[in-house]
Protein backbone atom coordinates (compact mmCIF):
# COMPACT_ATOMS: atom_id res chain seq x y z
CA UNK A 1 0.00 0.00 0.00
CA UNK A 2 2.73 2.46 0.90
CA UNK A 3 4.44 1.36 -2.33
CA UNK A 4 1.35 2.37 -4.18
CA UNK A 5 1.12 5.70 -2.39
CA UNK A 6 4.77 6.57 -2.98
CA UNK A 7 4.34 6.03 -6.76
CA UNK A 8 7.95 5.03 -7.20
CA UNK A 9 9.10 8.40 -5.95
CA UNK A 10 6.73 10.36 -8.15
CA UNK A 11 4.06 10.79 -5.49
CA UNK A 12 4.49 14.56 -5.34
CA UNK A 13 3.55 14.78 -9.02
CA UNK A 14 1.10 11.97 -9.58
CA UNK A 15 -1.21 12.56 -6.63
CA UNK A 16 -1.61 16.30 -7.07
CA UNK A 17 -2.40 15.66 -10.75
CA UNK A 18 -5.08 13.15 -9.87
CA UNK A 19 -6.50 15.40 -7.17
CA UNK A 20 -6.49 18.41 -9.50
CA UNK A 21 -8.27 16.55 -12.28
CA UNK A 22 -10.83 14.87 -10.04
CA UNK A 23 -11.34 18.19 -8.30
CA UNK A 24 -12.03 19.92 -11.59
CA UNK A 25 -14.44 17.16 -12.59
CA UNK A 26 -16.36 17.51 -9.32
CA UNK A 27 -16.29 21.29 -9.53
CA UNK A 28 -17.65 21.15 -13.09
CA UNK A 29 -20.46 18.83 -12.08
CA UNK A 30 -21.42 21.16 -9.25
CA UNK A 31 -21.05 24.29 -11.39
CA UNK A 32 -23.17 22.80 -14.18
CA UNK A 33 -25.91 21.90 -11.75
CA UNK A 34 -25.76 25.29 -10.09
CA UNK A 35 -25.91 27.02 -13.47
CA UNK A 36 -29.02 25.05 -14.35
CA UNK A 37 -30.78 25.59 -11.05
CA UNK A 38 -30.01 29.32 -11.16
CA UNK A 39 -31.57 29.57 -14.60
CA UNK A 40 -34.52 27.54 -13.36
CA UNK A 41 -35.04 29.71 -10.29
CA UNK A 42 -34.73 32.86 -12.38
CA UNK A 43 -37.33 31.61 -14.86
CA UNK A 44 -39.64 30.68 -12.00
CA UNK A 45 -39.24 34.08 -10.40
CA UNK A 46 -40.10 35.71 -13.71
CA UNK A 47 -43.19 33.60 -14.20
CA UNK A 48 -44.36 34.42 -10.69
CA UNK A 49 -43.78 38.12 -11.33
CA UNK A 50 -45.78 38.03 -14.54
CA UNK A 51 -48.65 36.22 -12.87
CA UNK A 52 -48.66 38.77 -10.08
CA UNK A 53 -48.86 41.72 -12.48
Amino acid sequence: MSDFLSMGGYASSVWPSVVLTVGIIVWNVLAARRSFSEAHAEARRRVAMEQAS
Binding site: M7, S13, S17, A32, F36, H40, E42, V47
Partner: protein, 245 residues
Protein backbone atom coordinates in the same frame (compact mmCIF):
# COMPACT_ATOMS: atom_id res chain seq x y z
CA UNK B 1 -34.17 13.57 -47.13
CA UNK B 2 -36.25 13.95 -44.04
CA UNK B 3 -35.39 17.12 -42.18
CA UNK B 4 -37.97 16.89 -39.42
CA UNK B 5 -35.39 15.60 -36.95
CA UNK B 6 -33.39 18.72 -37.62
CA UNK B 7 -36.28 21.04 -36.89
CA UNK B 8 -37.24 19.05 -33.84
CA UNK B 9 -33.71 19.30 -32.57
CA UNK B 10 -33.86 23.01 -33.22
CA UNK B 11 -36.96 23.40 -31.07
CA UNK B 12 -35.95 24.60 -27.60
CA UNK B 13 -38.59 22.75 -25.54
CA UNK B 14 -37.80 19.55 -27.38
CA UNK B 15 -34.08 19.76 -26.73
CA UNK B 16 -34.77 20.81 -23.15
CA UNK B 17 -36.77 17.65 -22.53
CA UNK B 18 -34.44 15.35 -24.47
CA UNK B 19 -31.40 16.70 -22.64
CA UNK B 20 -33.07 16.11 -19.29
CA UNK B 21 -33.97 12.57 -20.21
CA UNK B 22 -30.58 11.68 -21.72
CA UNK B 23 -28.43 13.11 -18.95
CA UNK B 24 -28.54 10.13 -16.54
CA UNK B 25 -27.61 7.78 -19.37
CA UNK B 26 -24.36 9.66 -19.71
CA UNK B 27 -23.75 10.41 -16.06
CA UNK B 28 -23.60 6.86 -14.69
CA UNK B 29 -21.36 5.34 -17.37
CA UNK B 30 -19.13 8.38 -16.94
CA UNK B 31 -18.66 7.75 -13.24
CA UNK B 32 -18.03 4.05 -13.78
CA UNK B 33 -15.61 4.48 -16.66
CA UNK B 34 -13.55 7.18 -14.98
CA UNK B 35 -13.31 5.13 -11.77
CA UNK B 36 -12.31 2.10 -13.83
CA UNK B 37 -9.82 4.05 -15.89
CA UNK B 38 -8.21 5.60 -12.84
CA UNK B 39 -7.91 2.22 -11.13
CA UNK B 40 -6.43 0.68 -14.26
CA UNK B 41 -4.06 3.55 -14.83
CA UNK B 42 -2.86 4.06 -11.29
CA UNK B 43 -2.84 0.46 -10.08
CA UNK B 44 -2.94 -2.14 -12.85
CA UNK B 45 -0.81 -0.59 -15.57
CA UNK B 46 2.92 -1.40 -15.29
CA UNK B 47 5.34 1.50 -14.82
CA UNK B 48 7.01 2.94 -17.87
CA UNK B 49 10.58 1.68 -18.27
CA UNK B 50 11.88 5.22 -18.76
CA UNK B 51 9.56 7.48 -16.75
CA UNK B 52 8.68 5.00 -14.00
CA UNK B 53 5.42 5.72 -12.23
CA UNK B 54 5.57 9.37 -13.27
CA UNK B 55 4.04 8.49 -16.63
CA UNK B 56 0.74 7.72 -14.86
CA UNK B 57 -0.08 11.42 -15.01
CA UNK B 58 -0.91 10.80 -18.65
CA UNK B 59 -4.13 9.08 -17.51
CA UNK B 60 -5.49 12.39 -16.32
CA UNK B 61 -3.54 14.76 -18.56
CA UNK B 62 -4.29 13.34 -22.01
CA UNK B 63 -8.06 12.95 -21.47
CA UNK B 64 -8.24 16.52 -20.11
CA UNK B 65 -6.40 17.85 -23.15
CA UNK B 66 -8.69 15.81 -25.38
CA UNK B 67 -11.77 17.20 -23.65
CA UNK B 68 -10.48 20.77 -23.95
CA UNK B 69 -10.09 20.43 -27.71
CA UNK B 70 -13.34 18.54 -28.18
CA UNK B 71 -15.20 21.25 -26.27
CA UNK B 72 -13.70 23.99 -28.44
CA UNK B 73 -14.56 22.17 -31.65
CA UNK B 74 -18.09 21.46 -30.49
CA UNK B 75 -18.47 25.05 -29.38
CA UNK B 76 -17.32 26.48 -32.71
CA UNK B 77 -19.42 24.07 -34.79
CA UNK B 78 -22.52 24.76 -32.70
CA UNK B 79 -21.82 28.48 -32.94
CA UNK B 80 -21.56 28.19 -36.71
CA UNK B 81 -24.87 26.35 -36.87
CA UNK B 82 -26.39 29.05 -34.70
CA UNK B 83 -25.15 31.79 -37.02
CA UNK B 84 -26.22 30.10 -40.23
CA UNK B 85 -29.66 28.87 -39.22
CA UNK B 86 -30.28 31.42 -36.47
CA UNK B 87 -30.88 28.55 -34.08
CA UNK B 88 -31.21 29.52 -30.44
CA UNK B 89 -30.45 26.04 -29.18
CA UNK B 90 -27.18 25.94 -31.10
CA UNK B 91 -26.07 29.15 -29.38
CA UNK B 92 -27.19 27.68 -26.07
CA UNK B 93 -25.04 24.64 -26.81
CA UNK B 94 -22.02 26.78 -27.70
CA UNK B 95 -22.42 28.82 -24.53
CA UNK B 96 -22.49 25.65 -22.41
CA UNK B 97 -19.25 24.33 -23.90
CA UNK B 98 -17.04 27.29 -23.03
CA UNK B 99 -16.70 27.05 -19.23
CA UNK B 100 -16.31 23.27 -19.36
CA UNK B 101 -13.62 23.51 -22.02
CA UNK B 102 -11.80 26.26 -20.16
CA UNK B 103 -11.72 24.24 -16.92
CA UNK B 104 -10.32 21.17 -18.59
CA UNK B 105 -7.73 23.29 -20.36
CA UNK B 106 -6.67 24.33 -16.88
CA UNK B 107 -6.60 20.66 -15.87
CA UNK B 108 -4.44 19.77 -18.88
CA UNK B 109 -2.07 22.64 -18.14
CA UNK B 110 -1.85 21.86 -14.42
CA UNK B 111 -1.20 18.16 -14.88
CA UNK B 112 1.29 18.94 -17.63
CA UNK B 113 3.20 21.20 -15.30
CA UNK B 114 3.13 18.60 -12.50
CA UNK B 115 4.56 16.09 -14.94
CA UNK B 116 7.23 18.57 -15.94
CA UNK B 117 8.62 19.02 -12.43
CA UNK B 118 10.26 15.57 -12.12
CA UNK B 119 10.93 15.14 -15.84
CA UNK B 120 12.33 18.55 -16.72
CA UNK B 121 13.19 19.76 -13.26
CA UNK B 122 10.85 22.72 -13.56
CA UNK B 123 7.13 23.27 -13.68
CA UNK B 124 7.20 25.13 -16.94
CA UNK B 125 9.12 24.62 -20.11
CA UNK B 126 7.90 25.87 -23.44
CA UNK B 127 6.83 22.46 -24.59
CA UNK B 128 4.75 22.75 -27.78
CA UNK B 129 1.74 20.95 -26.31
CA UNK B 130 1.70 23.00 -23.15
CA UNK B 131 2.13 26.19 -25.18
CA UNK B 132 -0.76 25.27 -27.46
CA UNK B 133 -2.93 24.52 -24.43
CA UNK B 134 -2.03 27.90 -22.98
CA UNK B 135 -3.07 29.66 -26.18
CA UNK B 136 -6.27 27.62 -26.14
CA UNK B 137 -6.94 28.85 -22.62
CA UNK B 138 -6.55 32.44 -23.83
CA UNK B 139 -8.97 31.72 -26.67
CA UNK B 140 -11.52 30.40 -24.18
CA UNK B 141 -11.02 33.40 -21.91
CA UNK B 142 -11.42 35.77 -24.85
CA UNK B 143 -14.61 34.01 -25.88
CA UNK B 144 -16.09 34.21 -22.40
CA UNK B 145 -14.85 37.77 -21.98
CA UNK B 146 -16.58 38.88 -25.17
CA UNK B 147 -19.76 37.13 -24.12
CA UNK B 148 -19.72 38.83 -20.74
CA UNK B 149 -18.98 42.27 -22.21
CA UNK B 150 -22.04 42.39 -24.48
CA UNK B 151 -25.26 43.08 -22.67
CA UNK B 152 -27.79 42.05 -25.29
CA UNK B 153 -27.84 38.23 -25.02
CA UNK B 154 -28.63 37.65 -28.70
CA UNK B 155 -25.85 39.93 -29.82
CA UNK B 156 -23.51 38.22 -27.37
CA UNK B 157 -24.45 34.84 -28.85
CA UNK B 158 -23.81 35.93 -32.38
CA UNK B 159 -20.65 37.95 -31.81
CA UNK B 160 -19.02 35.21 -29.76
CA UNK B 161 -20.01 32.73 -32.47
CA UNK B 162 -17.95 34.64 -35.04
CA UNK B 163 -15.03 34.63 -32.64
CA UNK B 164 -15.35 30.89 -31.99
CA UNK B 165 -15.26 30.13 -35.70
CA UNK B 166 -12.26 32.37 -36.33
CA UNK B 167 -10.59 30.64 -33.38
CA UNK B 168 -11.36 27.19 -34.76
CA UNK B 169 -9.65 28.08 -38.04
CA UNK B 170 -6.73 29.39 -36.02
CA UNK B 171 -6.27 26.50 -33.56
CA UNK B 172 -4.55 24.11 -36.02
CA UNK B 173 -2.40 26.99 -37.31
CA UNK B 174 -1.35 27.86 -33.77
CA UNK B 175 -0.62 24.23 -33.02
CA UNK B 176 1.43 23.78 -36.16
CA UNK B 177 3.37 27.00 -35.77
CA UNK B 178 4.16 26.21 -32.14
CA UNK B 179 5.45 22.78 -33.15
CA UNK B 180 7.59 24.38 -35.82
CA UNK B 181 8.88 27.02 -33.45
CA UNK B 182 9.73 24.35 -30.91
CA UNK B 183 11.59 22.22 -33.44
CA UNK B 184 13.85 25.21 -34.14
CA UNK B 185 14.59 26.27 -30.59
CA UNK B 186 14.42 23.11 -28.50
CA UNK B 187 17.40 20.88 -27.93
CA UNK B 188 16.44 17.43 -29.29
CA UNK B 189 17.48 15.54 -26.15
CA UNK B 190 14.65 17.01 -24.08
CA UNK B 191 11.93 14.51 -23.39
CA UNK B 192 8.69 15.24 -25.19
CA UNK B 193 5.54 14.96 -23.19
CA UNK B 194 3.17 12.03 -23.52
CA UNK B 195 5.32 9.69 -25.51
CA UNK B 196 5.89 6.66 -23.29
CA UNK B 197 6.47 3.36 -25.06
CA UNK B 198 2.91 2.20 -24.97
CA UNK B 199 1.81 -1.38 -24.44
CA UNK B 200 -1.68 -2.82 -24.20
CA UNK B 201 -1.91 -2.96 -20.40
CA UNK B 202 -0.97 0.72 -20.43
CA UNK B 203 -3.20 1.67 -23.32
CA UNK B 204 -6.43 0.05 -22.18
CA UNK B 205 -6.99 2.29 -19.12
CA UNK B 206 -6.12 5.30 -21.27
CA UNK B 207 -8.75 4.40 -23.84
CA UNK B 208 -11.27 3.88 -21.05
CA UNK B 209 -10.42 7.34 -19.74
CA UNK B 210 -10.90 8.88 -23.18
CA UNK B 211 -14.36 7.36 -23.50
CA UNK B 212 -15.14 8.36 -19.92
CA UNK B 213 -14.13 11.99 -20.50
CA UNK B 214 -16.11 12.14 -23.74
CA UNK B 215 -19.22 10.99 -21.88
CA UNK B 216 -18.40 13.37 -19.05
CA UNK B 217 -18.33 16.26 -21.50
CA UNK B 218 -21.67 15.17 -22.96
CA UNK B 219 -23.25 14.89 -19.52
CA UNK B 220 -21.96 18.29 -18.39
CA UNK B 221 -23.13 19.93 -21.61
CA UNK B 222 -26.56 18.35 -21.27
CA UNK B 223 -26.98 19.85 -17.80
CA UNK B 224 -25.71 23.26 -18.79
CA UNK B 225 -27.58 23.49 -22.08
CA UNK B 226 -30.89 23.14 -20.27
CA UNK B 227 -30.06 26.17 -18.17
CA UNK B 228 -28.91 28.13 -21.21
CA UNK B 229 -32.14 27.27 -23.03
CA UNK B 230 -34.19 28.50 -20.07
CA UNK B 231 -32.22 31.77 -20.05
CA UNK B 232 -32.91 32.31 -23.74
CA UNK B 233 -36.57 31.32 -23.64
CA UNK B 234 -37.71 33.17 -20.54
CA UNK B 235 -40.60 34.78 -22.34
CA UNK B 236 -42.09 31.67 -23.88
CA UNK B 237 -45.11 29.91 -22.57
CA UNK B 238 -43.53 26.47 -22.42
CA UNK B 239 -40.96 27.71 -19.92
CA UNK B 240 -43.75 28.93 -17.66
CA UNK B 241 -45.31 25.47 -17.80
CA UNK B 242 -42.03 23.67 -17.20
CA UNK B 243 -40.91 25.69 -14.20
CA UNK B 244 -44.37 25.77 -12.63
CA UNK B 245 -44.61 21.97 -12.45
Amino acid sequence: MDWTWFHRFGSPPHLYRIAGRLMPWFAWPTAILIALGLYGGLVLAPPDYQQGDGFRIIYVHAPSAWLSLMAYTTMALAAGAGLIWRMKVAHALAASCAPIGAWFTVAALGTGMLWGKPMWGTYWVWDPRLTSELVLLFLYLGYMGLRAAIEDPQRADRASAVLAIVGLVNVPIVHYSVEWWNSIHQAPSVMKFGKPTISWPMLTPLLIMFVGFTLLFAALVLVRVRGEILRRERQSRWVAEVVAS
